[in-house]
């Protein structure tokens, strides 16, 4: 392992401490993914609005949805937006169930600013959703296969033995908002990316396919894995919001851990190492 010491050769001049962190494939994939995921999320909310209720199992138990976003009259007779989860009711007027669109009150689950397209337009929402999915899913598959077959890329996302052992320390470090700027991802970062890349993203695609009646005939195991079409639809919705949570945390960390350096590394590939970071060539990213 690298140790910080006073050896002048271990502390190269400024220029040498900027490394090439992200390869072209990673960078292009990253930004295409961002566009795809934004389109998929917003058009997905548009599709959800066509039947704003979620169920568990094979079909829809219309009288007993697990979640429902709706509009109703309150005790004072005024319209209100409501989210129902099981037996609970949450007043969400203004955002969910009832929201303003061009000054007009509109009864719709997700507000116009969150959906693609803005107006209620299921057919167009579906077109956007499937077009973006056709870009996103093949690229995801290519990325995952590339990561599995390339030893260098495997090292990128799989924590080293030392990183596994150091996980508690890394978490404590992050909790105090202290960040390393080393060539390698830290253990916590790697675990998060593993979970998103090999967990959430493929699950989004698979739960999406489970909603397709033709795919159900072609690959009936999808229904068994996810517990039925309506369960798959509910999971698709939950995973989508886990991805939103990842996006928020990811964006927050990018902003507070050196936004310029981070953005540059994902655009040009170049990343400036911290003063005390090891400059081990083996840890460089492909």
């Amino acid at each position: 392992m690298n140790k910080h010491n006073d050896n002048p050769y271990a502390n190269p001049p400024e220029r040498a401490r900027v490394i090439k962190r992200h390869g072209l494939f990673t960078r292009v994939w990253h930004w295409v993914n961002l566009v795809c995921l934004v389109i998929l999320l917003m058009s997905g909310l548009q599709i959800f609005n066509a039947h704003p209720a979620l169920y568990w199992g094979n079909d829809s138990s219309f009288d007993d949805p697990a979640l429902q976003i709706t509009a109703m009259r309150g005790d004072d007779g005024a319209p209100m937006g409501v989210v129902r989860i099981g037996g609970y009711r949450i007043n969400t007027t203004g955002v969910l169930g009832l929201s303003r669109n061009d000054g007009e009150l509109d009864t719709r689950a997700f507000p116009a600013w969150a959906t693609l397209p803005g107006p209620q337009w299921l057919a167009m929402g579906r077109y956007w959703h499937f077009a973006a999915a056709w870009v996103f899913a093949p690229l995801l598959l290519a990325y995952l296969v590339y990561t599995l077959i390339s030893p260098a890329r495997r090292r990128l996302v799989w924590p080293t033995a030392a990183q596994w052992r150091g996980l508690p320390a890394t978490i404590a470090h992050h909790a105090r908002l202290k960040f390393d700027h080393s060539a390698d991802y830290n253990g916590l970062q790697k675990l998060t990316y593993l979970l998103v890349l090999f967990g959430l993203l493929p699950l989004m695609v698979l739960t999406g396919l489970t909603m397709s009646p033709t795919m159900n005939a072609a690959w009936p195991w999808l229904l068994d894995v996810f517990g039925g079409r309506q369960s798959a639809r509910t999971l698709h919705f939950i995973f989508a919001f886990l991805l939103v949570a990842f996006f928020v945390i990811h964006l927050g960390l990018v902003l507070i851990s050196g936004v310029f350096n981070n953005l540059r590394s994902m655009i040009t590939g170049r990343y400036r190492l911290g003063d005390d970071a090891p400059a081990d060539k083996d840890n460089r990213h492909a």
Binding site: V32, V35, C36, I39, M42, I47, F48, A50, H51, A53, Y55, N58, D59, S60, S61, F62, L116, P117, G118, P119, Q120, W121, L122, A123, M124, R126, Y127, W128, F130, A131, A132, W134, V135, L209, M211, S212, P213, T214, M215, N216, A217, A218, W219, P220, L223, R229, Q230, R233
Partner: protein, 261 residues
Amino acid sequence: MRDSKLILPDPKRRRLITGLGALGASAALTGCDSLSRNDRVQDLLGATDRLTRAAQRLVSSRESLAREFGERDIAPTMRANGSTDPSNDDYKRHAANGFADWRLRIDGLVRQPGDFSIDDLKAMPSRTQITRHDCVEGWSCIAKWTGAVLGEVLDRVRPTSAARYVVFHCADNIYGGPVKYYESIDMVEAYHPQTLLAYGLNDDRLPIANGAPLRLRAERQLGYKMAKYVMRIELVDSFASIQGGNGGYWEDRGYEWWAGI
């Protein structure tokens, strides 16, 4: 209720434009709503319909079956969507006398066009299946359907080799408009073993709300494909000259012809 308000341009103008990535780039440049109304963008988005169809045909065989369920999975009521009580005089007259004089006309690219009563259809090879109906809106409902196997019915009228699509002309002018509902499927879906001309629902006669006297069941497709109140079946080599030219009532209002997803 369906929410489609705007109509995609003529699909003949849709071309497969390569470079779907350009889509995302242009989305970032201007508002997505104006993009949604842009002809070129609609062409590009429309191309994915055919891509999905080709891919799904690749992974599903002609015989791969939709899942069938057990008696206890049947929903208390099969939700009726779209038209639930056609109001035109012709249909009302048929309904009033229990569809006794009703005949299904099958013509177009067939060697032996014919007219079939419900009893004629009931005498043909039938199938009963408990399947899940998936609406494009997102909900699902499980019910037991009984009907004549469409492939067997088609064999009686003997489609010519030019026949590529089966078009279902319906009695209902949906939402009271002047236009009557219609739908189309291709020969692969038409000859699928689970594709039925259904006259029974949950061991009873098919109710009016669910499409009496006869409706289509195409179990690997979304609900809007499964035409209700079928009056006439026409075999064609192209649906370009029928109504809006997109192969179905909802297709003419912007929905995909391929309803497998």
